[in-house]
Amino acid sequence: MISKAAFLLTVPSLLAAAAFAALAIPSRAQQQQPTHNLPTAAHGGTIVMLCDGKTGIEVKDLKPGQTMSRAEAQSVADALMAKWQHAHPNEHWQMAQASPAAEASPAASASRGAIAPSHAAPSSSQTQSAANAPAAAPSLTVQQGDTYASFQPRDYKVWKAETDKFVADGKRIFHDDKALGSTIGVSCDMCHPDAANTHPETYPKYQVQLQKVALLRDMIDWCVENPVKGKALDPNDPKLRALEAYIYAQRKGVPLDYGKH
């Protein structure tokens, strides 16, 4: 039934190194996507990787430009998951849609060994103890060895600092008519103090005036062009990305409710 044999192989972890390289680059404008160097296919097929950046298989006979049938693709996905499960015998893989009861429960996510409490974004006291005592590293009751588990509180600190910087940049632009390119001295905060009434959690939703289902960035752009009278920003413009980050950050904890008017 499986026409293309799948060979399991191990790929050295490259993602972590690439991620750190990206973090070290100060300017977002120059920031590049980390590239993922795949190992060469030993059997002339195509390497397919899991999102952990570690687990991969070679699909033999799949040449560049060729596609798989749905059934073939499913069998490759199954083989990848089987390999991952084999390497993580105690990990409980949760299908988000299949178990709504566990959804969004902090206990559920904590029970996933990958993000055990001692590894979660550190509170200051955790950071403290981690800095003073390396013994705060995973205890025996916590799973180890995969990508997530190998990150230390220090890593979370760096990531948080980076994210906060991104959000702060968005906050600055949101409040600065010149940075927004306003020709009439108008900035977003004049009508949206603390980004109130921007409702990012309701996107995507249909916007009558735009005559389409809009993403948050479409609405931001509309506001940049209209009340602010600037030039619409390219979706990849660092300013638009930063504005989006700030607007989302202001609604932390509000449940997603796409389509709401």
Binding site: H175, M190, P193
Partner: protein, 382 residues
């Protein structure tokens, strides 16, 4: 100058002005007939809402007239209008906010009968520059009725009130009007956050202009002005109704946005012995009202932009206006009329552009919401 400041709506009003003036001479039944016919004519012209708001205004003017002759005893009823929070940059920089102010001036000028006076609720300028204030004075000078000026923080914190006072006089004053004692307060003093930081006037006003900028301090009436108020009230009998005009709300709604007066309780205490007190305030740019003891509070609409309801602290008696339509520059904006009854208590008429007007009956607040509840919003804030 009048031609320079004429809006599309004015041209529309002029076109039909004669017909509308005639309407008020009619009795109610004939009036309704003409109203229906006019609505037909409007439809035939292909005018759809928002243009129909003018018909609504005509209907109101007619109602106001029958109402205003009803007063039999006490103080004679009267009507005054307000416009507020125009936030104008100079026209060369920004047309939009100038247009809003001009539209409000024209709408107030079109009221018939004319208001006894027009209260300007503060924040005439956006960044307190002398050119902005002068331009604002020029636009307000087009009002036919006498204007009572009040200062806002956007007018004050560039030169700490120099230009504003030169143009409009002292920011605290009082006068008696048809049995009501009217007090205009300067209520946007802030503690000095600029000297130690060595800020320039431009930097200072920019900080004050940012609603969510936490560097500035909270608004207060302050010791000096409260003393002034106390002295002013010393000669006013407690049976006299009071109308207080203040840019800041004179109560505590939401601290982070300065929807707030730090010494509110002390000011309220000075007013406690007067049974009929109404505060009309600016700054909040939304349909907003509150009752604290003997004092009714009404927030004024802006002509520049609407503000979201704050995430906390909204007075429970406030019935929100629908959220503003971002695609309609005039939505959530407008001006107001206050019909003061023989007890010296005003009913507040929010003349929202492009929407039906909303009337808040004074007894709604004074009964703590038991009677005259205004219609609920379809799209409340979230």
């Amino acid at each position: 100058m009048a031609v320079r400041h004429k809006s599309v709506e004015t041209k529309y009003m002029e076109e039909r002005g004669a017909a509308l003036r005639g309407l008020r001479q009619l009795d109610r039944r004939t009036f309704m007939k003409v109203l229906a016919a006019t609505a037909g004519a409007v439809m035939a012209k292909g005018l759809v809402p928002p243009h129909t708001f003018q018909l609504v205004n005509v209907a109101n003017a007619a109602v106001d007239k029958s109402w205003s002759t009803a007063g039999a005893s006490g103080t004679p009823p009267f009507m005054f209008a307000y416009l507020s929070d125009t936030h104008m940059y100079v026209r060369a920089k920004n047309q939009r906010f100038v247009k809003g102010a001009v539209k409000a001036v024209e709408d107030v000028n079109a009221l018939d009968p004319q208001p006894d006076f027009v209260l300007f609720g503060g924040d005439l300028a956006q960044l307190g520059r002398p050119e902005e204030l002068e331009q604002g004075q020029e636009i307000l000078a087009m009002l036919k009725a006498p204007v009572k000026m009040m200062v806002g923080e956007h007018d004050w914190f560039y030169d700490l009130g120099d230009k504003w006072q030169q143009l409009f006089g002292p920011p605290n004053y009082s006068f008696d009007w048809k049995g009501v004692h009217v007090i205009v307060l300067m209520s946007v003093h802030e503690k000095d956050f600029w000297t130690a930081r060595k800020l320039t006037p431009a930097e200072r006003i920019q900080i004050v202009a940012g609603l969510d900028n936490p560097i500035q301090s909270r608004f207060e009436v302050g010791d000096e002005e409260r003393d002034w108020l106390k002295n002013d009230l010393a000669k006013v009998p407690t049976t006299t109704p009071l109308l207080i005009f203040s840019h800041s709300p004179l109560y505590k709604y939401y601290r982070n946005w300065n929807f707030w007066t730090e010494d509110a309780e002390q000011v309220q205490a000075l007013l406690r012995s007067y049974p009929n007190v109404t505060v009309i305030h600016g700054h909040t740019h939304q349909v907003l009202f509150n009752q604290i003891g003997n004092i009714s509070f009404y927030g004024m609409l802006s002509t520049a932009w609407p503000w979201p309801y704050a995430p906390q602290g909204l007075p429970p008696l406030t019935v929100q206006m629908n959220r503003a339509d971002p695609y309609d520059q005039l939505d959530g904006l407008g001006y107001g009329q206050l019909n003061v009854n023989k007890e010296g208590l005003p009913d507040m008429l929010y003349n929202l552009w492009d929407r039906n007007p909303v009337t808040i009956h004074s007894e709604y607040l004074r009964s703590h919401g038991k009677i005259y509840r205004p219609p609920a919003p379809q799209f409340a804030s979230y």
